[in-house]
Structure formats: C-alpha cells, structure tokens
C-alpha cells in the first residue's frame, strides 16, 4: 500500500507518530496505521511488523493504554488511548522535533558565500 513517493521513516519517529495518531482519539493497531497513512497522504512507508512492538513498548512505558473494545465492523479489537503521561511525552517530542527541524532546516538553507 506504499505510495509512489514513499519516504522512509527516520529512526525513532515512529513512536512520536503513533502517539500523535492516538492523541486524536482511541484507535486499534490497524487504525493507527490507517490514520498515519491518511494524514501523511500515503507518503510515509511504515513497516507493519514494527508497529505492534512499538505499541507494546509505548504501553510498557505508560504513554498509551490498551483496552479491548468493538471495532466499526463489530469485532473485538484492542483500542489504544493516550494517557496523561503520553500527552506530556508527545508535547516534549513535538517540541524537540520542531527544534531539530529548525536547526537542520537553517543549516540546509544556508546559501553558499561568494566564491
């Protein structure tokens, strides 16, 4: 389902994306995948196999909480929601990401001096 111009995910950003996806409302694992793809307009390639270890890692850290519920098609699915700790984490990660992107962007935008 990868788009034509798929971008490889930077190391360590998957956690942030999952937190962001879940912050918009409780989702099951497949839903997280769909929401990230939908928001990114299919420009991000996510390894489906690495999604679940990430979900379990985030739950282990206490940033998201999993609960069984019913999906749209009335099937049993595990829904994840953001916890208070997860919200703080997301804010921090977002700030860090923007800082990082600013710095990298500034460096990359620097025009070569006269030569």
């Amino acid at each position: 389902m990868s788009g034509d111009k798929a971008i490889d995910l930077l190391q360590g950003t998957l956690d942030m994306l999952v937190l962001k996806a879940v912050s918009l409302g409780p989702l099951h694992g497949y839903g997280v995948l769909l929401r990230i793809q939908q928001i990114s307009q299919n420009r991000l390639e996510i390894q489906q196999g690495s999604l679940y270890p990430a979900l379990y890692r985030l739950e282990h850290e206490g940033w998201i909480a999993g609960e069984w519920g019913l999906s749209e098609n009335k099937r049993r699915a595990r829904f994840y929601r953001l916890t208070a700790a997860g919200r703080r984490r997301l804010e921090m990660e977002t700030r860090k990401w923007h800082d990082f992107a600013d710095v990298v962007g500034t460096i990359l935008k620097t025009a070569p001096e006269e030569r």
Binding site: H28, Y30, S50, P53, Y56
Partner: protein, 913 residues
C-alpha cells in the same frame, strides 16, 4: 515513563505469558483480517487479499516476539532457555550431578547442624531484657572457709577452687548492704521434688528464687503474677509457685484456670500464682527451664536439709547470686566494692580460724547463666573443626569436578563461539548452570540440616531424659554455609568458562590445541586432589582415634556385671520421711520389689555405678598416727545384696547381711585398691577406720571386694569403701536411692509391675529416670560416642570424596595421554608397564597428600589428647590403619583408569590423532 505501568506490564508478561501471547496473536489476526477486508472491498479476490496482507505485514512470529520483548521479558526468556538447557545438560550426566549435589548437601547440611549446635551450646543467652547487664557471682580460693557446699565446685584455670555457691546469711547481708550493683538476687536449682496434682504424683525440677528475683531479671509472667518480696518473708510464709510454660502445657493443657490452683509439693500445699513466658528458663541455664519456681522462704518446709534451716545456716554454701550492673560504674570498681562487702559478710557470719585465707569474690558474665554446657564446648569445638574440614573437602571436590568438566567442554564452547554466540551469553549460560547445581545442592543441604537439627542435642542428652536443649533452626547459619558452597560452585564453574571464552576459537577447535590449554588445568586439578587426600587423611586419623577410644571404653573391664539390670531413682521427700523413717521405707520397698514376679534380685545404692557421681570423704585407719596427712577415699552407701546383684566378687571376708542393722557394729567392705593403698602388707580384715565427719564411731572392715568402676569408665578405679544404708541414714532424712533390679524380663513389661509395687507402699512416690544399667553406662560415654559416630561419618564421606577426586584426575590424565601411551606401546612398552606408570603417578599424588595429612594429624592430635581413652593421639596403629585404608581406596580408584590405559590399542590411539 511510569514505573507503575512498567511493573504492571512486566508482571503480566512474566506471569500471564500465555494470556499475553494470545492477546498479541489476536491483535495481529485482527490487523491482517481488517487489511484483507479493505483489499477485498477494492476488488481483490479473497485468497489474494489474505496472501498480500500477510506478505506485506512481514514475519508474524517476529512481531509477536518483539511485542513481548517490548514488555521487558527478554531477560526472562533467556533465563528460561538457559535453565532448560542447564537442566538438560545436568540430566545428561547424572553421575556428575549426583556427586556434585551430594557433596554440596553434605557440606552444607553437616556444617549447619554442627554450627547450630555450637551456637546453642556456647552462645545461648538468658531470655531476659538486657542479659549483658547480668553478673553471676563466683568466689575463688575458698579452701580455708568453705567446708560444706552444695552445687558447682570446680577448679579455675589458675588451679584455685571456685564456686558459685554462697551461704544464705552471706547473701542476705550482701543484698542489704549492696551499693555497687543495681540489683542483687538469689536463686538455686534444687533437687527434684514430688508434685502431686489431681492425685497424680510425679517428679518435677525446681528452682528456688528470692523475692526480688523476677524484678532483677525484669521478667513478667505471661499469666498471673510473679514471686514477690511478700512471698519471701519468714520461713513458710509464701506457699506459692510459678510454673514454666512447658509444664503448664504438659500438666494443665494451657488452661488459664491454673492460676489459684493448689498443688501438693513434697507434701505441702502450694498455690500456683503465675506462668512464666515461654522463652524464660530461669537464671541457671539458658537452655532448659526448671518446671516449678518457689520462694526461698519455703525451703525449710518443702525441701528440708538436715534439722537446721538452710536459710540460717552459716556454714553451708549453696545459694547462687545474680546481679545487674549499675550504669556508669566501672566493672573493676564494682568488683572491688562487692569483694570488700563479701569478705565483710563472711567475717560477720562465720567463725574463722586465725590466719584463715579469705576467699575472693568475682563478678562474671551472667548472660548465659551458669553456662552448664561448658563441658560440651570441647567436643563441639572438635566437631566444628572437623565439619569445617568436611566443608572444605566438599568444596574442593566440587571445584575439581567443575574444573574437569569445564575443560572437557572446551570444545563445546569453541563451537558455540565460532557459531557466533556472545561471550557474555556463554558466561550467562555457565552461570545459570552453576547456579542451578548450587541451588539443588543447597536445597538438599537444607533438607538434611532441617531433618538433623535436633540430632546432636538428642545425642547429648540421657536417652531416658529430655534433649539437652532444643535447637531452633537458624537461617543465618544455613545462609552462611550455603553461601560458601554456592560461591565455590560459582567460582569454579565460571573459571573454566571464562578461560574457554578467551581461548582462540580455532585453537580450541583443533584437537592439538588441547595440550597447551590443559597443562595448567592438570596442575591445579592435581593440587586440589592432593588437598583432598590430605584432608581425608586428617579426617580418617581423627575418626580412627575416636572410634578406637569408644571401642576401648566399650570393652573395658567394668569390675561388675551390667547385663539384665534395670535402674530407677526414688526420692522420698524429707517432709514425710525424716531421718530413720526413710530407711524403713527403703527396707519395705526392697522387700516388696523382691516379691514382684520376674525379679531375680533387688538392691539399692546412694550412687548408681558409672553415672558420673561419687561420694567422697576422709578415710583414716585407726592404727595410723593422726599427724599423718588426711587422706580421702570414695564411698558408696548400698543395700544388703549389692555385691551379689551387681556381680562384684567378694575376694576376702564377707559381704553385708541382715545382722548388719541400725544398731549393730558399723561395718564396711573395701575394694582392692583401697586395701592396697591404706593397708599395704597387712590384712585389712577386722581393722577399723574413721570417716571424717562421722568420727564418733569407728567402722570395722569385714570384707574385701573386687575393683569396680564407680563414677566413670574413663578414669582409673579409686580406693573405695561400701557401707550398708541401714547404718548410714542421712541425718537430713529424705534419703534418695537408686534401685538396681536384676531381671531378664524386658523393661517395658517390668516397669508397670515395679511402679505398682512402689505405689502399694506409697502412692505419692514416683519412679524417676527408669533406665537399664547399660544405658546408664552408655550415657557417660555420650561424648565419646558422638565423636566416634560423627567422625566416622565424616571419615567415610572423606574417603568417598577423595576416591572420586583421584578417579577423576587419573581418568582425565589417561584420556589426555592416550596418544602418548599409544606411542609408548607402539615402541614396545608392555601393558603391565603402562599400568604401573599410571598407578605410579596416582601414588605420587596420594603419597604427597598423605604425608601432608599425617603431619597435620600429628600437629592437631594433642588438641584432642584429653578426649581419648586407652591410646595416645599419635597412636601408631590408628595411623597405620588409616594410611592403609586410604592407600587401598586410592589404588582402587586409580585402578580403572590405569586398566584403561593398559588396554589402549596403539593403532587406534595413533589413528585417533
């Protein structure tokens, strides 16, 4: 991140592993199905949709595993794998595992038992608040002052006599004027008394205490009230008792209604006012509590001792004193003050000869009471030492086994390293294996120690009495011994792995590489075997010495016939049987018991034979000048048929008969040793002597009997004389005697008949300490028996461990040298020569170990010299026997590898390379 969620998820992952697996699987399944449905909705056929969904997802198994690991299970999954692997490895070599676990278990078990016993016997403190403040009062150098005493009387390290007994008037004055100690109280473990409760009589142990005893001990009864000053007023004013927790359980079923109950003690009605806390054992011993505590005021009534009250007797030294130190007052200054007070009290209460030396008062640690287990300390120290050797031996054995195994597995390690296993991972695996082995050994040792924890206290006690003390299982000691053994397992289990993982992989994989890496291990292995052999030698010699001591004691000539004799004690209370009446009672009982069917002979004696007690007094032949130095002899007061019943031969003159009555001429029978010492070259028959205190009347010697052991077999037979009890009733009345009944009927069948016979004379007279004469003799050899049993056990363990060590090292050496042996044989060496070569190598190891062990045994032997009987610590026979035994076992153990070496086929051995 939150610790709570981490712990919660981790907990679930470890302990609900199955549930978690299922949850992950269900989630993944949902994911695949949802994706496939989406694909089908866009027109992809069902089968194709599922195939694509699965393919794009990647490895389901990896996702499952990684999800689980995200919850922190990696360590446990690996541990579980390691444990499973270790269990398989250990199960594959059951011989190795069994030996390793058994040597660990023996080392841990034996040491825990011995250490626990030692701790109790040597270190137990009284269960009172601040026992370290307690001081027990002693007096020494008292030969000029103390002529009559009752209690402990011994010799201090400086050779001066010392005792914890004081006269009651001295106690009273010291207590009145005491300023140096915070408290000063008195107590005395009295003779057994007869308690009649609800019509049933039994013998009870007692302690008399002063009115301030409980206050000094700072102990409150668990029930009721303590003995107080108001109970300890004028004689007879306090007919009250406090009972021990154990007695409360035994006789009253822990009923609270016991308070206020009246019991009959030696014929006096006493009221139970309190029950002691379970842990409190009185002031005398920290191990065993008397059953009944009563105030001193009751002594003249309940336990009369002669006609005069002991409480006003200035000459009788019998009361023990305990005090508490005053905070802030230095020990030396308190002792000086108390000593001055003590000497003033002695002067104030006794009429002393001019120039009499004053005894000296000592304040000594009272936190363990009189520490009556002091006589146990020596055998316990010996056992501690030997058990320590066994632990060392067990550890050496384990080390040897693990080292040999480690080098045998060098190849396995190299293979695993070559296949990419991390060094940490291999060490982790080896650690798990060592830990599993240690844990199994520890568990087996725990079972062994727990099962045996009471074996030594029981061995130490008389077989017919309660255990010497109750050993409580001590986890601290177990942790220590287990820790030592487990540490050994870890160190020697990991060392080879550590070395193996450092070795160049390709060298490890090549056969030839072994020779270089193994030389070091061969040397350290041999050193360990030498250590094992020398330790075994030491233990074997120890076992030999103690076993031979016991054999010597068992086969020693007693001088009397111990078979088919049943013993019991009768202690008629002086309150009901004053002087004269007690003799009549014993005469009636003697007659009654002789009439019981199955009884072949009845006699009685003041002291039973070989029971550790004697009577001793001055012996002055009438024909000898008075100026000569006073000499002592041992004596026993016995029944008319004593010699016939005990099988002691009368060698000259006559024994006693019914013409020797209370009013007839006083007579005595002497033994040969006495005749030889006091009447050399003359005929003692018809001569007379005086026996010190009873010097109003001379005693005529009417017979000479053979020498018979009196208090113990271990010592030489002393000059002894015997007197009929009818002529020597104690002035204090209440004469207690031991009855000796000759019967061929089993004791169990006989005792009820005897009891009935005694009760037909007096139903309030209990039979005490029923035992056979042989049990009585065995009881005095308990120390020797324990030492012999345990050291023989240790020696056996040592032999087994040493033979395993020797076998292991030789088998290893032969397998390593297979190639060399093959070459030798190809060059013409005879199999017999090869056999001799291997046996020769083993002999060297064993010889070095044996010489070291024998040297150690010689050096340590003098420490046990005083515990041996009939042999010296350098007993050549023992040394020769132990060496021969060890040599035989060593040759036997190396015979199998030697045979294997001799059977090497040179062709095969060379092709093998």
């Amino acid at each position: 991140m939150s610790l709570r969620s981490r712990v919660a998820t981790w907990w679930k992952a470890i302990f609900r592993a199955q549930g978690l697996d299922q949850q992950v699987a269900e989630e993944l399944q949902f994911h695949i199905e949802s994706y496939a449905e989406d694909l089908m909705r866009s027109g992809v056929p069902r089968d194709e949709a599922f195939r694509r969904a699965r393919a794009e997802f990647g490895s389901l198994a990896a996702a499952r595993e990684n999800s689980r690991h995200a919850w922190g299970t990696r360590f446990f999954d690996e541990l579980r794998g390691d444990l499973r692997h270790a269990a398989r490895v250990l199960a594959k070599s059951p011989g190795f595992t069994a030996i390793a676990v058994a040597s660990l278990a023996l080392g841990i078990g034996a040491n825990t038992v011995i250490f626990t016993t030692a701790q109790h016997a040597l270190l137990d403190r009284l269960h009172v608040p601040h026992p370290e403040q307690l001081r027990l009062l002693w007096n020494t150098d008292n030969g000029d002052v103390v002529h009559m005493f009752w209690g402990h009387f011994g010799q201090g390290p400086d050779g001066k006599s010392e005792t914890t007994s004081f006269s009651y008037p001295v106690y009273e004055q010291m207590r009145r004027e005491n300023r140096a100690l915070a408290q000063l109280c008195a107590f005395k473990n009295s003779f057994p008394m007869t308690a009649t409760i609800d019509g049933q009589a039994e013998s009870v142990s007692t302690q008399m205490v002063s009115g301030n005893f409980y206050a000094t001990m700072e102990v409150q009864p668990a029930l009721g009230r303590a003995i107080e000053e108001r109970d300890d007023g004028k004689p007879g004013s306090g007919p009250v008792v406090v009972i021990s927790d154990a007695f409360w359980t035994k006789r009253f079923g822990r009923s609270p209604a016991v308070i206020g109950k009246t019991i009959d003690l030696n014929g006096t009605s006493m009221t139970v006012i309190g029950v002691n806390p379970a842990q409190f054992t009185g002031a005398f011993s920290a191990q065993r509590s008397p059953e009944i505590f009563l105030p001193f005021s009751m002594q003249p009534v309940v336990a009369p001792f002669g006609t005069k009250s002991l409480l006003t007797n200035n000459d009788m030294w019998w009361v023990m004193m305990m005090g508490r130190v005053k905070p802030g007052l230095a020990g030396a200054s308190a002792q000086a003050q108390m000593n001055a007070l003590f000497q003033a009290s002695v002067r104030g209460t006794m009429t002393l000869k001019a120039g009499a030396k004053m005894p000296v008062l000592l304040l000594q640690d009272g936190s363990r009471g009189q520490n009556s287990n002091a006589e146990l300390s020596k055998p316990i120290y010996v056992l501690l030492g030997l058990a320590g050797l066994v632990l060392l031996l067990a550890c050496a054995n384990l080390a040897n086994l693990l080292l040999a195994r480690g080098s045998a597995r060098q190849r396995e390690m190299s293979v695993r390293l070559a296949m990419g296993a991390g060094r940490r991972r291999i060490l982790h695996q080896m650690l798990t294996e060592s830990l599993l082995l240690s844990a199994m050994g520890g568990a087996a040792g725990l079972l062994l120690a727990y099962g045996m924890r009471n074996i030594i206290p029981r061995l130490l006690a008389d077989p017919w009495g309660p255990p010497a003390f109750n050993a409580t299982f001590d986890w601290g000691i177990f942790a220590f011994t287990a820790g030592v053994s487990v540490l050994t397992g870890l160190v020697f289990g990991l060392a080879p792995a550590w070395q193996a993982t450092r070795v160049n992989v390709s060298a490890g994989l090549k056969e030839a590489g072994q020779t270089t890496t193994h030389r070091r291990r061969g040397l350290s292995g041999k050193a360990i075997v030498v250590l094992q052999v020398s330790l075994s030698m030491l233990l074997l010699v120890g076992a030999g010495l103690f076993v031979r001591t016991l054999v010597n004691l068992d086969t020693a000539q007693l001088g009397f016939q111990p078979d088919h004799l049943l013993l019991f004690d009768l202690n008629p209370p002086g309150t009901r049987y004053p002087s004269g009446k007690d003799v009549a009672l014993h005469r009636a009982l003697e007659e009654k018991l002789a009439g019981v069917p199955g009884v072949e002979g009845v006699t009685l004696s003041q002291n039973p034979l070989v029971a550790g007690s004697i009577s001793n007094g001055p012996f002055t032949p009438s024909n000898q000048a008075k100026t000569e130095q006073e000499q002592d002899a041992e004596y026993n007061v016995v029944g008319e048929r004593f010699f016939a019943t005990m099988g002691i031969p009368i060698v000259a003159g006559r024994g006693f008969n019914n013409a020797d009555t209370e009013t007839s001429r006083k007579v005595a029978v002497i033994n040969r040793a006495l005749a030889k010492k006091f009447f050399p070259g003359s005929d003692p028959l018809g001569q007379t002597f005086r026996d010190g205190e009873r010097n109003s009347q001379t005693i005529t010697i009417v017979g000479i009997c053979g020498d018979a052991h009196y208090d113990q077999v271990q010592a030489a037979i002393e000059p002894t004389y015997y007197m009929p009890y009818r002529q020597h009733g104690d002035r204090k009345g209440g004469m207690g005697m031991t009855y000796e009944i000759a019967t061929r009927i089993k004791p169990e069948a006989m005792v009820p008949e005897l009891r009935a016979a005694v009760q037909s004379v007096d139903r309030n007279l209990p039979l005490v300490d029923v035992r056979t004469q042989k049990e009585q003799i065995a009881a005095t050899m308990q120390q020797e028996r324990i030492l012999a049993d345990l050291t023989a056990g240790f020696g056996l363990i040592a032999l087994v461990l040493a033979s395993i060590g020797i076998y292991g090292i030789m088998a290893y050496s032969v397998s390593r040298r297979t190639n060399e042996i093959g070459i030798r044989m190809a060059l013409g060496a005879q199999p017999r020569r090869v056999l001799r070569m291997v046996l020769g190598e083993a002999s060297w190891i064993v010889a070095i170990g044996m010489v070291a062990g024998l040297a150690g045994a010689l050096a340590l032997g003098r420490l046990v010299a005083s515990m041996l009987y009939g042999l010296k610590p350098w007993d050549p026979a023992t040394f020769a026997m132990s060496s021969t035994l060890l040599l035989l076992v060593a040759v036997g153990a190396s015979w199998i590898p030697a045979r294997r070496a001799a059977g090497v086929d040179p062709i095969k051995a060379l092709r093998h390379e």
